[in-house]
Amino acid sequence: MPDADYRLYLMASAAIFTIGFYSMLTQAHLLRRIMAFNVMGCGVFLLFITLAARAPGPVPDPVPHAMVLTGIVVSVCATGLALALAGRVQTVTGKTELEPGEDAGGRSGAAHHGSSA
């Protein structure tokens, strides 16, 4: 791979990760935050793949590829889990966002009891 291309991919991966993280911090809707997580993940995976491509010879380094595969599976699991949880949050609270600065401590102990005892 020509040198210039490879740098471009490196910078792209950093940019994608940063964009994802920025959205994670600024977006409130749970679905958007879950997507932001996936974008962050893409940035990381792109970095792995790019690093693998640097290897001398015709075959890219297989180790980062395997790591990316593992990472993707984990991130798919995480996404599935997060979606299920977000769905449950929506069912129970009727909202698709977390209240800012929400602290379970604000509520009284008695109201809380039903769910956590």
């Binding site: 040198d3 490879y6 740098r7 490196l10 910078m11 991966s13 950093a14 940019a15 990760f17 940063t18 970095l47 690093l51 693998a52 640097r54 290897a55 001398p56 010879g57 075959v59 890219p60 380094d61 297989p62 180790v63 980062p64 590829h65 395997a66 790591m67 595969l69 593992t70 993707i72 599976v73 984990v74 798919v76 699991c77 995480a78 599935g80 889990l81 979606l83 299920a84 949880l85 769905g87 449950r88 069912t91 129970v92 609270t93 008695a110 109201a111 039903g114 769910s115």
Partner: protein, 216 residues
């Protein structure tokens, strides 16, 4: 981002990676494709835990309660049904193919499992999986299969060679295929069932936690 790009750009262009080592020892690994060798042999332990993570994610999703009811009447979606008739056999075939060629070309349990998962999602969408979804015990067994087979083989290799996931010489390829097959079934089931966002719904009964708990 600046620091990140700067750091990334500062990485050496001719890296001290493991490309050479993993290719050099490919012969000992029992498979011909380097990525599969890394996944199932060199770093098979990662994959073992990862199959666990998948089951964990599914158990976690199920712990939230019952998921959404699939479509009521499959006949109301004729287009989907006719698509399924063509697509399903192809998906199954492709999954089996990917599993098999994983040994020497890009492919393997995850790729195959992803296709199986897709097939399952389509079945659920078409309302064709309703009876299967009610057989919860079978589903649970199928989901746990991958982890159990993988962990079992790890323990057996320990007994045979004294090393965790150290395959006896020559048996690597076969054992990897067994692991991959079991894993593919579990992966496919898990990915497909995650789509429900919870435990498969239970007939006519309302889902357990769908109503908000009573907050006095």
């Amino acid at each position: 981002m600046g620091a990140l790009s700067w750091a990334a750009l500062s990485l050496p262009a001719k890296p001290p990676g493991l490309a050479k080592a993993s290719l050099d020892r490919l012969g000992e690994s029992g498979v011909a494709h380097p990525v599969t060798a890394v996944l199932l042999n060199y770093r098979g332990y990662d994959t073992l835990l990862e199959v666990g993570v998948l089951l964990l994610a599914l158990a976690g999703a199920w712990s939230l309660g019952r998921g959404e009811q699939p479509a009521e009447n499959p006949q109301s979606r004729p287009l989907l049904l006719s698509l399924l008739r063509v697509l399903l056999p192809m998906l199954l075939l492709a999954a089996g193919h990917l599993l098999w060629i994983g040994a020497f070309a890009p492919g393997g349990a995850f790729q195959g499992g992803a296709l199986l998962g897709g097939a399952l999602v389509l079945l659920i969408l078409g309302g064709l999986a309703r009876r299967a979804l009610k057989r919860e015990r079978c589903l649970r067994a199928g989901l746990a299969l991958g982890v159990l087979v993988f962990a079992g083989i790890a323990a057996v290799t320990m007994a045979l060679t004294g090393g965790l996931l150290q395959y006896p010489p020559g048996a690597g390829g076969a054992l990897i295929l067994v692991i991959e097959t079991a894993a593919m079934v579990s992966i496919g089931l898990a990915l497909g069932l995650l789509y429900l966002g919870g435990q498969p719904p239970e007939g006519a009964r309302r889902s357990l936690l769908a109503t908000p708990p009573d907050h006095a």
